[in-house]
């Protein structure tokens, strides 16, 4: 298709502007600020309308951007063009909102109009607005040599700012990485982790549910354990009572034994006592009586002795031996006394001359000996006095005899009353004393036993008698066993109660855990869905990339070679495009990447690429090309070459070439 003419009534800064277009190259040399971009957008808006009404930014919102200043009413104009041999006019006006816009398509030949033409540009060019603008519109940045010579990148960069040339590669790589996080080899990844989490959560719920199922049996076990421990407690108490009772019985038994023993002993003693009493006529003399007779016996013996000694003294007093004995006695006393005095003197002398100690000892012996002699002689003197005295009492021998007889008479009566045989008084008295002594001992013993009996406090008890059969050791053993069992059961009860509390606690949380299981299931499904989406996205992106490559490789190859030959004048096939749309150049010595070539060559190659793309993409109708001062940075030599290229290309496409400097016109 080709543009014929346009009229801008009002659009941006343009007012009442007309232009007729040539078929090939149309050069617009205007100063900056003229409205070259405005005219470009006007032409675009005639085919595609105004865009981004919802954008708030004036730069993005075309309607706001190109609404003429201080203009009321609609703005726009018309554009005449030729399409498939027929001339048409688009009349378009734009209001404040899309709803106020109007479109009229007029067949300039027939006059037929159509006001309901949606998306006119897409229908004419077979490409959307963004595609059109990205291919048919060149600026100086489109001519810059790029590092990436892949045509795929070119496709990807068609839509300008939003897409980085490497976006497909990056997108695919990102998706690959993301997909791996969901599912990796070795059972790892988010999905597997979530499955594990679900498994654990289910296990937890199952465990709790099993525990909860057992709660009633646990309760029953606790109840029966409580009954069991209660019974055990009662049994233990009963056993303790029995043991206490049996203990008491044992004590009582012991008491009884003691009681019997003591009773037996006391009986024996009483019998002995009776026997003893009977041996002396049933009458035991009192102590006073006994003492009186004993004293009398002593007196009797004295009297008897006196009587005998007086007799002997009388005899002795008449004897001359008595006088010799007396003289001999006095001489002995004198000698002993002399020896003592001598010892005393020697001792003193020794003590004060040679040996004090020895002297002291000798004098001490002498002294003591003197004292002994004195005492001996005094005693003998006394005896003599007594003899002398007795000698004077030789008048009373018959008195003593009479006294003796009296005593004897008493004694005889006494012993007779006791049933003793007539024998030596001493023997009888001794016998009597022994009997009385024994008797008294018996009495004391009996008293003692009676005291013990009263202290014993034994009470006759038939019950205790009957229960004497308890075996205390057996009872204690049984109690010990019960206690062990009780401890065991109470421990078990305590454990069961703790377990019950844990189950109760778990039961309370069961619904939360079940909730969590449901949540995890949902999360797992969400992860699976996400994984599926990512996988599908990955698949379709790769597919799309492959489709583009397949669809455009050959056509691009042909177009690129065509435009390359146009630009360079070389006819042989110089350009190769591989499966990934990477471009290389055939040289005599092999193929080379574009990177090896000069900047100038690369710039020209960018132009080739763009025209090749235009040719490939615009399948229905050849578009017009808008060049918005693309060579502004070129040096003179390159500029000349570029202008030559444009001239050559203008034989293939209608080109609107905007410049602001004469040199580039």
């Amino acid at each position: 298709m080709k543009l014929l003419r346009c009229y801008v009534k009002a659009f941006g800064g343009l007012r009442d502007y007309k232009v007729d277009f040539n078929e090939g190259l149309n050069v617009f040399k205007e100063d900056n600020g003229f409205g070259k971009s405005t005219l470009t957008y006007f032409i675009k808006s005639m085919f595609y309308g105004l865009n981004n009404d919802k954008k708030r930014s004036i730069n993005e919102n075309e309607r706001a951007h190109f609404k003429p200043w201080n203009w009321s009413g609609t703005f726009g104009g018309y554009l005449d063009f030729e399409y498939k041999g027929t001339e048409f006019r688009i009349e378009r006006s734009f209001g404040a909102k899309e709803g106020e816009d109007s479109l009229l398509l007029v067949n300039l030949k027939t006059g037929k109009t159509n006001s309901n033409f949606d998306d006119l540009g897409s229908k004419i060019f077979g490409i959307d607005e963004a595609g059109f603008f990205s291919t048919a519109y060149f600026s100086e940045k489109d001519i810059e040599a790029k590092g990436n010579y892949s045509l795929t990148a070119k496709f990807n960069s068609i839509y300008g700012n939003d897409y980085d040339p490497e976006s497909v590669k990056d997108a695919v790589k990102k998706l690959e990485t993301t997909i791996k996080t969901y599912s990796m080899r070795g059972g790892k990844g988010k999905i597997e982790d979530k499955k594990s989490e679900l498994y654990e959560a289910n296990e937890q719920v199952n465990n709790i549910q099993s525990m909860v199922k057992s709660i009633s049996s646990l309760k029953n076990e606790i109840d029966s354990l409580q009954v069991e421990t209660k019974n055990l407690k009662n049994e233990m108490n009963t056993l303790s009572d029995k043991i206490a009772f049996a203990g008491k019985s044992e004590v009582n038994k012991e008491k009884k034994r003691n009681y019997i023993e003591l009773n037996n002993e006391i009986s024996l003693l009483k019998n002995k006592k009776c026997e003893l009493a009977n041996t002396i006529g049933g009458r035991i003399p009192t102590k006073q009586e006994l003492d009186a007779y004993s004293n009398s016996f002593v007196e009797y013996n004295k009297v008897k002795k006196m009587s005998e000694s007086i007799k002997n003294t009388q005899i002795n007093n008449n004897s001359s031996n008595n006088k010799k004995q007396k003289t001999k006695f006095n001489t002995n006393i004198f000698l002993l006394t002399s020896i003592c005095i001598l010892l005393l003197i020697v001792g003193v002398v020794l003590a004060f001359t040679t040996n004090f100690t020895l002297g002291l000892i000798i004098s001490g012996i002498g002294f003591l000996s003197a004292i002994l002699v004195a005492c001996f002689s005094f005693k003998l003197g006394k005896t003599k006095e007594l003899l002398q005295k007795n000698n004077t009492e030789t008048d009373k021998p018959n008195d003593y005899l009479e006294l003796c007889l009296k005593y004897e008479e008493q004694f005889d009566l006494f012993f007779d009353s006791l049933g003793f045989e007539k024998q030596d008084y001493f023997i009888n008295f001794t016998k009597l004393n022994n009997l009385v002594y024994d008797y008294n001992n018996l009495c004391e013993r009996i008293l003692e036993i009676e005291r013990k009996l009263s202290q014993l406090n034994y009470v006759e008890s038939s019950e205790m008698e009957n229960n004497f059969a308890y075996n205390l050791e057996e009872l204690k053993f049984e109690l010990s066993e019960k206690q062990k069992l009780y401890i065991q059961k109470t421990d078990e009860l305590s454990r069961k109660k703790s377990a019950y509390e844990r189950v109760e606690d778990s039961n309370e949380k069961l619904s939360s855990y079940e909730n969590r299981v449901s949540e995890i299931k949902e999360e797992l499904e969400a992860l699976k869905r996400e994984h599926e989406i990512y996988s599908l996205t990955y698949k379709y992106l790769l597919q799309a990339d492959e489709n583009l490559k397949i669809r455009y490789r050959k056509p691009l190859d042909d177009s690129l070679n065509k435009f390359y030959s146009i630009i360079t004048g070389k006819n042989e096939k110089a350009i190769n495009i591989d499966i990934d749309l990477n471009v290389t150049v055939n040289e005599s010595d092999g193929t080379k990447s574009i990177e090896y070539y000069s900047k100038g060559f690369k710039n020209l190659f960018e132009i080739c690429k763009r025209f090749a793309l235009v040719e490939v993409l615009f399948t229905d109708e050849k578009p017009f090309i808008i060049l918005d001062d693309p060579f502004c940075n070129f040096d003179d030599k390159k500029l000349i070459e570029a202008k030559e290229v444009i001239k050559k290309l203008s034989s293939y496409y209608q080109i609107l070439y905007f410049v602001c400097h004469e040199s580039r016109a």
Partner: protein
């Protein structure tokens, strides 16, 4: 004399409609709300608390929940708790030696407080007609009747016993304290009496929207009652159309502002997003969820939006156009197509996917 009429407390409820961590907290909050109700009753000299059914949530109520309830009751020995079993309560009554906890039975059970007579019975197998026939109340008394069930004509999502209101006319009822319906509602029985559903004390899900609480009944010369909002948190359900939006963060700000105008930060909110958006409009639902859950206690987002695929993408010669055309021409479901396209566009733009 004052009485409280409450019902449908559902202690120990699992609350499956919320995430597990929120539902666990909510269960505790509901228990606490009941205890706060008792504290309110104590502070306001309430004579008795009437529990018109569904005190618990399930036949298999745990001992923990029962013991907790009994513990609360035991703390307020001067307040009577009059308990009527509902369809969710365990049918076998638990043991209790608390003298202030009293039970209504299968036939009319009456508790008297001066001239105030509180009578209740369990409706079993639609015996409301029979029950009504056997109900004898003195005209001179102030009569409060307690039942649990659904008044004929009310919508209910679950099976319940039906209460035929006409049978209870001219029975000298001053106030019919009902349980089962989870929102406060009231109506007239006859010229003398009114009925009221107290509603549940505290909501448990997004099907229990609006204010929840109890009814405070005051009896002096006449009987008056008033609904008291008492829930710890409210549930809300909103929808939001994002069709006009082209900037995600502007949309987030507007949503937050919209929600803050209608509910407090302690609320539980269900937000349904609807509308269409362009392929170039980045919507990050996770990010939105994070923003909203930071501003409110809990927000659940339902995404009912759809991407606008108006253009003929065969005219888009780029990889994007090729990709979208490839997906659209596939046999995938519409929903999956939408998601794949969104994901692919974001990936090509280098955005987070």
């Amino acid at each position: 004399m004052k009485f409280i009429h409450c019902a449908d407390i559902h202690l120990g409820s699992a609350i499956e409609s919320l995430p597990s961590n929120i539902s666990y907290k909510r269960r505790t909050e509901i228990r606490n709300t009941f205890e706060k109700l008792c504290e309110f009753a104590y502070s306001n000299d309430v004579t008795a608390i009437i529990i018109a059914g569904d005190l618990f949530d399930s036949e298999k109520v745990t001992n923990f929940t029962i013991n907790n309830f009994l513990h609360i009751v035991s703390k307020y020995p001067k307040i009577d708790f009059l308990y009527l079993q509902g369809n969710h309560d365990p049918q076998i009554l638990f043991e209790s030696n608390l003298t202030n906890l009293k039970f209504f039975g299968g036939s009319w059970t009456s508790f008297n407080y001066g001239n105030v007579n509180i009578v209740g019975a369990k409706i079993i197998e639609n015996n409301s007609e029979m029950l009504a026939a056997s109900l004898k109340l003195k005209e001179s008394d102030k009569n409060i009747v307690v039942l649990h069930g659904q008044i004929a004509g009310y919508k209910s999502t679950e099976k319940s016993e039906i209460i035929s209101l006409p049978f209870f006319k001219e029975k000298n009822i001053d106030y019919l304290a009902l349980g089962h319906y989870h929102s406060f509602d009231e109506g007239k029985i006859d010229n003398r009496g009114k009925y009221a559903y107290s509603g549940c004390l505290d909501g448990r899900g997004f099907d229990e929207l609006g204010d929840k609480g109890f009814v405070l009944i005051e009896v002096e010369d006449s009987l008056k009652y008033e609904f008291k909002s008492f829930s710890s948190r409210n549930f809300y359900d909103f929808s939001f159309d994002l069709t006009e939006y082209t900037n995600f963060f502007t949309m987030c700000d507007d949503i937050v502002k919209f929600l803050k105008e209608k509910c407090s930060y302690t609320s539980l909110i269900k937000l349904t997003l609807k509308g269409e958006y362009d392929a170039d409009f980045d919507i990050d639902i996770k990010e939105l969820k994070a923003i909203l859950n930071d501003a409110f206690y809990f927000v659940k987002i339902i995404d009912n939006t759809s991407m606008k695929i108006e253009k003929d993408y065969s005219l888009d010669k780029s990889i994007r156009g090729e990709f979208i055309s490839e997906v659209l021409s596939s046999k995938l479901s519409e929903d999956v197509k939408k998601q794949v396209i969104m994901c692919g566009i974001r990936a090509l733009k280098g955005e987070n996917i």
